[in-house]
């Protein structure tokens, strides 16, 4: 039998039973619209939760702790001139712990990891004020907009004045609390390790992990550290500020960075884990809901196609008498299901898109990917639902159907 004849028969049959065809197509359309709307809302909520997670837990800091008595400076002292600072005056400091300097090639190594979006070196030092009080100085890459912003200080934290500019030197941004305690404001002059600096801004960084009292450019910080050393190492860094690719790669990023730096310690926000887990649960629920929608569509299609087949039993029997083989009848029924499912699902996608554009869910919009999911899902459901009726129709002796008047 020619395909064109088969298609004509299928289309004619669908047109003859307009009401049933419309009902079935509407069912397929609803299923497809459901998938599109659901995927739009789901994606929006995923983007939102990703955003929240990105704001809380997709960044971390890695460093290598040192014993307090280890003298880092000693390694860079001329032989026989060990001039270590007294215990407690160890300059490289983080989180209340002395730290070692990190290998200079580590930044390049970490930045190639697929789980890492951004990495920035930082030099965090604990210096002693003339008054004898310790204070923290952070040297930041002022040109970095990602990792530095989420872990330390950024232009958005500035309360007055401005943020550090790459290339400029001897400028400092003060943490608000430090500025207040020292009675300093924008424009004040300060001295850091004997070098003069001008305060260009005051910032409040909230609860960032690499928080300091004074922020200067990385180069300035290194120059301050070099001053106390003989033959200082290049690119001194004691902290790596890392931004993971996204919330779901956070854990992998941490373990990969840790593997890259033996003996390192990672500091991260604690909330990332449950949040990421909740997101995982949401995704599971989403998949489950999608599967349930697919199953419902399948069952509706199965019921409808089965009812249609019972209604057409006599007709199918007559076609068999007229020489239609079970294969031809199967092709006819599958083609009918395919045509209805295609028409219904495309209609449903348009409908779903329209619903999404009116939905109050912020940012909910489904793209072609939702269509690419909905149409094959509905078509597959419809064809699958036709398998049983087709199988049943093929197995019936014509005489059984002909008895039904």
């Amino acid at each position: 039998m020619r395909f064109s004849d088969l298609t004509r028969c299928a289309a004619r049959e669908l047109f003859r039973r307009r009401a049933r065809s419309a009902a079935l197509a509407a069912g397929f359309a609803l299923a497809a619209a459901g998938v599109v709307v659901f995927s739009g809302v789901w994606q929006a909520s995923r983007q939102d939760s990703d955003k929240i997670l990105a704001g809380t837990g997709t960044h971390f800091i890695t460093f290598r702790p040192a014993a307090a008595q280890d003298c880092i400076v000693a390694a860079h002292c001329p032989p026989g001139q060990m001039n270590c600072p007294p215990q407690g005056a160890h300059p490289f400091w983080f989180n209340g712990t002395p730290t070692q300097l990190l290998p200079p090639d580590l930044v390049a190594k970490v930045s190639t990891l697929s789980s890492v979006r951004d990495v920035s070196p930082c030099l965090l030092m604990r210096l002693t004020h003339r008054s004898g009080n310790p204070y923290l100085v952070a040297g930041l890459d002022a040109s970095n907009a990602t990792a530095v912003r989420t872990t330390s200080c950024a232009a958005t934290d500035i309360l007055s004045g401005e943020f550090l500019k790459p290339g400029e030197s001897h400028q400092a941004v003060l943490e608000e609390s430090y500025a207040k305690s020292q009675n300093l404001t924008t424009g004040s002059g300060i001295e850091i390790a004997g070098q003069p600096f001008r305060v260009i801004g005051v910032a409040n960084t909230g609860a960032r992990p690499a928080k300091a009292d004074v922020y200067v450019t990385l180069q300035d910080a290194r120059n301050i550290a070099y001053a106390g050393m003989y033959n200082p190492p290049a690119d001194m860094t004691n902290l790596l500020l890392v931004e993971a690719k996204d919330a779901t790669s956070h854990e992998r990023a941490m373990s990969e960075v840790k593997a890259a730096l033996a003996g390192s310690t990672i500091t991260s926000y604690n909330c990332y884990l449950p949040a990421a887990q909740v997101m995982g649960i949401n995704q599971q629920t989403g998949k489950l809901l999608l599967a349930a929608a697919g199953l419902a569509a399948f069952l509706v299609a199965l019921k409808s196609q089965w009812a249609g087949l019972i209604e057409r039993r006599r007709e199918i029997a007559i076609l068999k008498v007229l020489g239609w083989t079970p294969g031809m009848l199967a092709r006819l029924i599958f083609l009918e299901a395919l045509l209805l499912a295609l028409a219904g699902s495309v209609l449903g996608c348009v409908l779903g898109q329209a619903i999404l554009s009116f939905t109050p869910v912020h940012g909910a919009a489904a793209g072609l990917s939702a269509w690419a999911m909905a149409i094959p899902l509905v078509v597959a459901g419809a064809l699958l639902a036709a398998v049983l009726p087709v199988w049943h129709a093929a197995r019936q002796w014509p005489a059984n159907g002909l008895r039904m008047q």
Partner: protein, 221 residues
């Protein structure tokens, strides 16, 4: 020719078996008119549907031109029947939602015949039975006799080797009945076809080359 060897058929109704055909033996020759007669309910239609492969016998064998028919294999019987057997039913069995033209096309479509040829042949047969002006009508929009003629056109247009006709003249006026007989006889005489008619008296016995009387197991006497 058709040959039945020890055919039995019963139907299970309301939990018990209703025997219709019991150990039936008969031979119906090729290229001739065979008439199966018998009282109502004796199983004439049942026998025709077994010969056409629309149903399977409980026991016995059916042979067509010396070969045993695969009577219990539905799919193989469908292949055997295709392009070979035309059935004219007692209740016409026209496709109720197809026009009569489409009904005829439905029998021609399976062989892959082109659309133009199909239409030509369908219209030709509708003209021959005097229904061409009603070609776009549904069976329910025709009289019972006209439905019989449409069913005849559908069978004839497919040009089968064998026609199994169940009461072909029962529901028509004598003149139309004669026209139907003429077409069927022409199918045998001019077309070298084989015709098996089941009738309880509306088809003249003298037109038949061979008469087979179904009797002995009337279930309602």
């Amino acid at each position: 020719m058709f040959e039945a060897r020890g055919i039995s058929k019963s139907f299970r109704v309301a939990g018990r078996d209703v025997p219709v055909l019991k150990d039936l033996h008969c031979k119906l020759p090729s290229r001739s008119v065979s008439l199966i007669t018998g009282r109502s309910g004796e199983g004439k239609s049942t026998l025709l549907s077994l010969l056409a492969g629309l149903d399977f016998p409980d026991a016995g064998e059916l042979l067509f031109q010396g070969d045993v028919m695969p009577s219990s294999a539905m799919g193989r019987m469908a292949d055997w029947r295709r392009n070979r057997v035309g059935v004219l039913f007692q209740h016409f069995n026209l496709l109720p939602s197809w026009t009569i033209l489409q009904n005829i096309e439905a029998a021609l479509i399976t062989g892959g015949m082109g659309c133009a040829e199909r239409l030509l042949r369908s219209h030709d047969w509708l003209k021959r039975v005097g229904l061409d002006h009603r070609h776009d009508h549904l069976p329910s929009q025709l009289s019972v006799g006209q439905q019989q003629l449409a069913a005849l056109a559908r069978v004839m247009a497919a040009e089968p080797q064998v026609i199994l006709a169940d009461e072909p003249c029962a529901d028509v006026d004598p003149e139309t009945g004669e026209a139907i007989q003429r077409h069927l006889l022409e199918f045998v005489r001019a077309g070298n076809g084989t015709l098996v008619v089941a009738s309880h008296g509306t088809f003249p016995q003298e037109l038949a080359d061979c008469v087979f009387q179904l009797s002995g197991h009337p279930i309602d006497s």
